[in-house]
């Protein structure tokens, strides 16, 4: 692969002679003389080179006159190093990557309002494209201290859908379920009627695993009109509700226990690790009837992927089904911060603004040089392609070596990607449709991403630790062993000792502040 990598490098070099056009509305260079800044970054494990060797960095330096000394922190030490940096006061000029606690380190950071309003047309455009963004970034003092980074792809607004084996359904003469009883019957048929035809009862009607966030069965609670998210809350009529105390949650638990006890859910759901889960999906014989995943090819062997389609949602027994969407606005909101050590914050804000000024420069960072793994189409859209990926490598790796990947000073929202400007690869079309279909079931109101008050966030997180510990145990027990009315009453009492009222009130105040 060394040879292959050299080939890629040579290709990249030859391509780089065709440089991206300059963005119209950015004044360059940013500083008349070359100025040096130090920036600490969260290095991707897949990146095979240092940031100073990347073409986007050299190109941007030439255009802007801003030279960056990179502090490359390995991802596994990132959180520790960030905390150490703030604790010791040994601050770089800026930090790029998630994990900066903006709220509690406010004093060491610089408010960006003034600079953005004065000299960052592209950031201002992003604020007007995503109206809720400015509010989400703003802290309680009315200033914002960070800018978002990352891929904010619209097709990922719903992270996980249910994928059902259409060819098994055809074989057994089944139709898409329209209520949970039909869904249950389909799972039973998958279990009993040997749809993969190998004579063994090796089918797993519902393949899911607690070892993966994307394959978690917590989403099934939605069929009963409740939700179980990481925060354990949902919003209805501007009221924050703690869902594990709802009666609908009790109903959902009983139903999920029924599925589990009848052998319809992966029986090693709670015990297996991610590798074992993958081995099940990747088995030579297809054994999954319905799978919960970001996309079916994340878990199923490639040759079986065409057998699957997304399972359209239907209203549950309580007349409503909820399916959680990702928190909006998407992206890492605390991704780019400038610290008080920086002598010329305006220059760095303009540097970020320049990188986000148009698709050429943004993709040069995000995916590397044009025509390596991304290219323009005749109709003006762009696409990712894999023709240049050498054997033994992957686009993921090339993306993070020749470019930076998404942990960089860029925010790829729908102006730069998504159905309007990007042609999705064929494999993704299923995901795009599923995402559209599932979005209709997202609750109208939800907790948004954003920053709260220092004390409130600390308090909330502290309460959440205990609540989480308890709920994980409780849920596993209820799903495996079933739950009685008395056990549910006891559960409600336990919850009150875990101060869920306070916890919910804290979310309510967060929600009200960001409404």
């Amino acid at each position: 692969m060394k040879k292959a990598m050299t080939l890629v490098l040579a290709l990249a070099l030859s391509i780089s002679l065709v440089l991206p056009a300059l963005a119209a509305d950015v004044e360059l260079p940013i500083t008349p003389e070359m100025e040096t800044f130090t920036i600490m970054i969260d290095k991707e494990d897949m990146s095979q080179n240092g940031w100073s060797e990347k073409e986007c960095v050299a190109f941007t330096e030439k255009q802007t006159n801003i030279h960056i000394e990179w502090i490359e922190v390995p991802h596994s030490g990132w959180k520790e190093r960030v905390n150490l940096t703030f604790a010791s006061g040994d601050l770089p000029d800026a930090i790029i990557g998630s994990g900066v606690d903006v709220v509690s380190n406010m004093d060491s950071l610089i408010a960006l309002n003034e600079y953005v309003d004065r000299s960052a047309p592209n950031i201002l455009q992003m604020f007007s494209d995503i109206p809720e963004m400015r509010g989400a970034l703003t802290l309680s003092d009315g200033q914002f201290y960070s800018l978002p980074i990352g891929d904010a792809d619209t097709k990922n607004e719903v992270n996980t859908e249910m994928w059902i084996n259409q060819s098994w359904m055809d074989k057994l003469g089944l139709n898409m379920p329209t209520n949970i009883d039909e869904f249950h019957d389909i799972l039973v048929a998958f279990r009993d009627q040997d749809p993969n035809g190998n004579g063994l009862k090796d089918e797993i009607p519902l393949l899911a695993s607690a070892s993966s966030g994307a394959a978690n069965i917590d989403r099934l609670f939605g069929f009963f009109g409740t939700l179980d998210t990481d925060e354990h809350v949902r919003v209805e009529n501007d009221q924050v509700i703690f869902t594990p105390a709802e009666n609908t949650y009790f109903q959902a638990l009983q139903w999920i226990h029924q599925l589990y006890s009848e052998g319809l859910i992966n029986q090693e759901y709670f015990t297996e690790d991610y590798q074992q889960f993958l081995a099940k999906g990747n088995a030579e014989t297809c054994i999954a009837g319905v799978a919960l995943e970001w996309y079916i090819d994340n878990i199923i062997l490639g040759s079986y992927v065409p057998d699957y389609t997304y399972m359209p949602l239907f209203d549950g027994p309580n007349g409503v089904t909820y399916w959680a969407r990702e928190k909006m606005p998407q992206g890492t909101l605390n991704g780019f911060v400038i610290t008080s050590a920086c002598k010329n914050p305006e220059a760095l804000v303009r540097w970020y603004d320049y990188i986000n000024s148009d698709l050429d420069i943004l993709n040069l960072w995000n995916y590397g040089p044009e025509n390596l793994i991304w290219r323009y189409l005749d109709d003006g859209r762009w696409e990712l392609f894999t023709d240049n990926v050498p054997e033994g490598s992957s686009s993921s790796q090339i993306r993070r070596t020749m470019g930076t990947g998404p942990r960089a000073p860029l925010y790829a929202y729908f102006r730069f990607r998504g159905p309007d400007v990007e042609k999705y690869a064929d494999r993704i079309t299923g995901k795009v449709e599923a995402n559209q279909s599932y979005l209709k079931f997202a609750p109208a109101q939800a907790i948004t991403s954003g920053f709260g008050l220092v004390d409130e966030e600390a308090e909330r997180n502290m309460l959440l630790v205990d609540i989480d510990n308890y709920l994980t145990q409780f849920k596993a027990n209820a799903i495996v062993n079933g739950i009685t009315e008395e056990a549910w009453q006891k559960h409600i009492q336990t919850l009150s000792t875990l101060q869920i009222d306070e916890y919910t009130a804290l979310w309510q105040s967060f929600y009200d502040a960001h409404k």
Partner: protein, 297 residues
């Protein structure tokens, strides 16, 4: 025949049980090592589904290929060897000198000095003060941090001191000084040649610690080209496990997920081979040196 007849039934029973227990404990220790070896050349689906038990299944070297093809690994190897050699040299020299000094009863302030040394075994400033010291020495981001930080261990100094106290009698120095030998000459010409076993043991201790260490590198290094092997392997391992659903090539993603397990075992082998090669060279000193060191005081 005579030999067998002489053994009583009890002796024979004892021998059988003894051999059985020893073989059992050998297997218990050896099997995990053996498993890593066969798992590293098996295909990943067989490992995850528990088919790899005694022999490798569907032999493939894709894990090793993936590891050794990575450009980072050779700089990582180079750095690790450099850091290990430099830090072991510094560590052994300082430890032997300090250990010998403490073994001499005529060292002025010996009790106070040794108490100060031992104090550091129990109390340390913690991460943030250490970070500040390193910062003020101007060593953040420099490979010297990895070489110097923690290159001398008080525990090893005590081992060395016990060795010298028990194997270099004071009379030796008296005899040498009658012939006109000073402290420096005595240390270099007599003490060091007599202490090969403890030097070998200390070198192994320091080398293994430095070779396996990654924390200092994690916290203090700023550039990828300075990363030691352990950190490179860690990156390859995590990089091969993480699912990056952000790109177009589904085959590569699945391929990566599949080989992740093989890569994990391959990484262990790649990281351990140099130390395993070093061990036989110092083994003959090892037992002796450690036994002597274990008599404290």
């Amino acid at each position: 025949m005579i030999g067998i007849r002489r053994k009583s039934r009890f002796d024979r029973g004892f021998d059988i049980i003894n051999t059985f227990l020893l073989v059992l404990s050998l297997l218990v220790v050896l099997y995990p090592l053996y498993f890593i070896l066969i798992a590293s050349v098996s295909d990943a689906t067989s490992i995850a589904s528990g088919k790899v038990i005694l022999l490798p299944q569907n032999v493939s070297f894709i894990g090793y290929q993936r590891i050794l093809e990575d450009q980072r690994i050779w700089t990582g190897y180079g750095n690790s060897i450099l850091y290990t050699v430099a830090s072991t040299a510094i560590g052994v020299i300082a430890t032997v000198m300090a250990g010998y000094s403490f073994s001499r009863k005529d060292l002025a302030g010996r009790k106070v000095l040794i108490s100060l040394y031992i104090f550091t075994m129990y109390f340390s400033g913690g991460l943030i003060p250490t970070y500040l010291v390193v910062k003020q020495l101007g060593l953040i981001g420099s490979p010297w941090t990895v070489i110097l930080l923690g290159s001398v261990s008080v525990y090893n100094i005590i081992i060395a001191r016990s060795f010298f106290a028990s194997s270099i009698p004071p009379e030796l120095f008296e005899a040498a000084s009658i012939d006109g030998c000073g402290n420096g000459r005595f240390f270099i010409s007599i003490v060091v040649p007599l202490s090969k076993s403890i030097i070998a043991v200390l070198a192994l201790y320091y080398a293994v610690a430095q070779w396996n260490g990654y924390f200092n590198a994690l916290v203090y290094l700023n550039k990828q080209q300075h990363y030691p092997l352990q950190m490179v392997l860690r990156e390859i391992l995590i990089g091969s496990q993480s699912i990056q659903a952000d790109v177009a090539d589904v085959d590569a993603i699945q391929e990566m997920q599949r080989i992740a397990a093989t890569v994990r075992y391959g990484v262990i082998v790649v990281a351990s081979v140099p130390m395993l090669m070093l061990y036989p060279l110092v083994q003959k000193y090892f037992v002796k040196g450690v036994m002597i060191g274990s008599v404290k005081g």
